[in-house]
Symmetry: C2
Subunit: 204 residues, 2 copies
DNA sequence: TAAATTTTCCGAATTGAATCCGAACAAGCG
DNA sequence: CGCTTGTTCGGATTCAATTCGGAAAATTTA
């Protein structure tokens, strides 16, 4: 950010700009949104954008950050509940919340996710990855029998990345080949079958 | 495309433009490549771009199409070999070829994949998805015992999408938390464990 | 072959969006 | 209230995308 807002009304301006960014992005997609549109929706002059953001790109970056932060904030309180459930239910529960979250507010975050997954990859999605790894760790600690499973970091990596992408892709698809429930069930089965098979292999 | 090239030299111009697009994209990423750069690299005037492409975006679209077509062309001849292998080897084999393909030519296609996965989703990646579904179908026919597995379309969807994304993401990451071999092995295990567990459940 | 026609190429001119900037307006503070 | 600092703004500027009309090359026609 080019400059920090110190007064209250300046903070409100920054918020209005980011909010306008979400609205414009949800309406027309990131490529088609102009600085003029964002300024108009926010009810500020175009010049004001550049008081707090280096350029248009940075507005999207901040939106991306907020998206990831909000996702994490959505997941954190679920952790204590989720870690106590059987694996399949746990996955279904998490995915259901994730879908609702992405679709809220005219799919604001779904459109943002599509953008964020393309450009930033490491930079912004990484904290989310860390949170989910944390969730996996806690889950394992609540189910000590699963600690025998090999390659846990690798499997986390695959399921977290593959899971997020599959869900975002599916929700963006106007004519998906399978239903969301099938997708969620499939991901849950994938995890639970893998777990069960590993446990069978390790302690026969 | 705005107009079809009919003469030979015009076809060469179109090729040079697309080729230049790949080079420019690999160097600076899609956002930072200008029409001037593409024209300079291709050795043509800026005006020539617009003889055969509606706009800059369409150049990227054609690149995307070529990327997907080349990916399919890379996979097709592998199918007869792959379908005869045990599941784990089959997955490892496919992933190895996919990685080499993405990394060839200064990672030209890896950078393209990153872009294609963001924007086009359905439109361009879909033929690839269809080819891979085909591969799965053929694999199942060569291993009749696996036909009992439930939810095959769902599992294909998850493994194809999740697999492609995980690999692209991993190869783009300058400091990945796991090695590529671990990732590939993990995906292979994921598939094979799921298969084994399903077979055990269905015919105990 | 030469003229006529079609195709291709080009780069200066146009357009429009992104960004800059300095004047005008508000807020905090002695 | 003067003074300083923070904020807003929109016209001016910059730069990339796109257009356009004419020249050059290829092809066809006579």
């Amino acid at each position: 950010m080019a400059r920090k807002p110190v007064q209250q009304r300046a903070k409100a301006t920054v918020d209005a700009i980011v909010e306008a960014g979400f609205i414009a992005m949800a309406e027309r997609g990131p490529a088609a949104t102009t600085t003029r549109q964002i300024a108009d929706i926010a009810g500020v002059g175009v010049g004001s954008l550049y008081e707090y953001f280096e350029n248009k790109e940075e507005i999207f970056q901040v939106m991306s950050e907020r998206f990831v932060a909000d996702t994490i904030a959505m997941i954190q309180p679920l952790i204590p509940t989720i870690v106590r459930k059987p694996i399949k239910e746990a996955v279904l529960d998490l995915l259901g919340h994730f879908r609702d979250f992405l679709q809220a507010n005219n799919e604001r975050y779904l459109k943002c996710a599509r953008y964020a997954m393309a450009l930033d990859f490491e930079q912004h999605v990484e904290p989310l990855q860390k949170t989910l790894s944390e969730l996996v760790t806690q889950y394992l600690m609540h189910h000590p029998e699963t600690l025998k499973i090999r390659n846990i970091p690798t499997m986390s990596y695959i399921m977290i990345n593959g899971g997020i992408y599959s869900v975002v892709r599916h929700l963006c698809d106007p004519a998906p080949p399978i239903t969301f429930d099938e997708l969620a069930g499939g991901l849950a089965d994938m995890v639970s079958h893998y777990t069960e098979r590993e446990m069978a292999l390790v302690s026969p």
